[in-house]
Symmetry: C2
Subunit: 211 residues, 2 copies
Amino acid sequence: MRSAPEDLTARSRIRDAAIELFGRDGFSATTVRSIAKASNTSPALLLHHFVSKDGLRTHCDGYVVETIRDLKREGVISASQTELIAQLSAIPELQPLVWYLRRALQDGGPAAAEFFDQLVADAVIYMEEGVATGRLRPTRDPKMRALMLTTMAFGPILLGEHIGRHLGTDGYDADAQRRALPVMLEIFTDGVFADRDLIDSLQAQLKEDQS
Amino acid sequence: MRSAPEDLTARSRIRDAAIELFGRDGFSATTVRSIAKASNTSPALLLHHFVSKDGLRTHCDGYVVETIRDLKREGVISASQTELIAQLSAIPELQPLVWYLRRALQDGGPAAAEFFDQLVADAVIYMEEGVATGRLRPTRDPKMRALMLTTMAFGPILLGEHIGRHLGTDGYDADAQRRALPVMLEIFTDGVFADRDLIDSLQAQLKEDQS
DNA sequence: CAGATCACTGAACGAACGTTTAGCATATTG
DNA sequence: CAATATGCTAAACGTTCGTTCAGTGATCTG
């Protein structure tokens, strides 16, 4: 993933090939033999290093989570969920990582959970700072807002195929993100609802429920 | 899906079981034998009716798309993408349909594409009406806004597992949606960004590019 | 330099997969 | 009433799956 395959140890070549194939085709559609072939090794060596196919998945999960954490610490990528994936996508070598995360977030499992929770926790802090400096509006429920904004930020990423079909791009790539930016800023600066009836009536009702 | 399994023909029982299992476990993790068992039939009968496992998938795709279209026409569910899934989730018998769509949207395929495109097209119309009546803010790019709002609306649905973990709910169910509603209204009424620097500078730049 | 450890392989195993086949009832049709 | 079609099944086929095994050559170790 970082240099030419022939330079790396067989163990890391297997891991990189697995991350790419698991992410692209899914876990159960990826065979041990296809990973061995893609990494120029043998099925037996794969199991020699990782015990079983499930063991390899667990190893990949841990590796991906750790890599993301390292990239954050090194400042290569920021902790903001809206920018994180964009930044990852901008580095071609890390593209398989994005695919893998995409697949893992949907299929579940501990790696995806840890990744997602870290993202939400970061968003809470990031937004607290934004509110303090006056860049972001305050909210009555910071944790809920961070949670919902994080999940919504993943919508375009998870459905990148359909965005690509509409915009003629390769998924939700840099070009698509650039073209979507104006309406995204529109939405998140001025909102979408023009009148305040909806939110006012809800807040009145919530106050009534409290008393 | 509509009444007790023993009342239906074997053909429809197979189809319903397939929709449930494909949606829950994915296509390649679901076996012909497991579908046959869940529908109280035999693998041979499944292939007698649907030629192959792929044929069954194609049939399910068509059935799901057609069912959604019928429900829209009958007025059981609305065409608004933000409410559609919530309305589908509210009808327990249709829950497998939501799972199936979720899986199909991620895996791709013609059924998911048609479903998604229909959703975006409906959103464009729905929002045009909203702007005309003054309920929604106007936008410079109605199609792009409809596209992005539709994809973002799917974020919480696709990542329901993680929302459930944070809120203690069963995914993005009715309870989770109710609790998220205040911040969602907050976000889509007042926005998130407090100052207009971001959007102003972008618009200035866009104007500059035009000239 | 003997012995243990390590990276690695080809061949094979049992299980499970999607699919085929031959055949059995029960209707429908000429 | 014979003939055809339909709904359905048990058994088996060939393939591919994840995994095991026996063994080879290189490298490290005492």
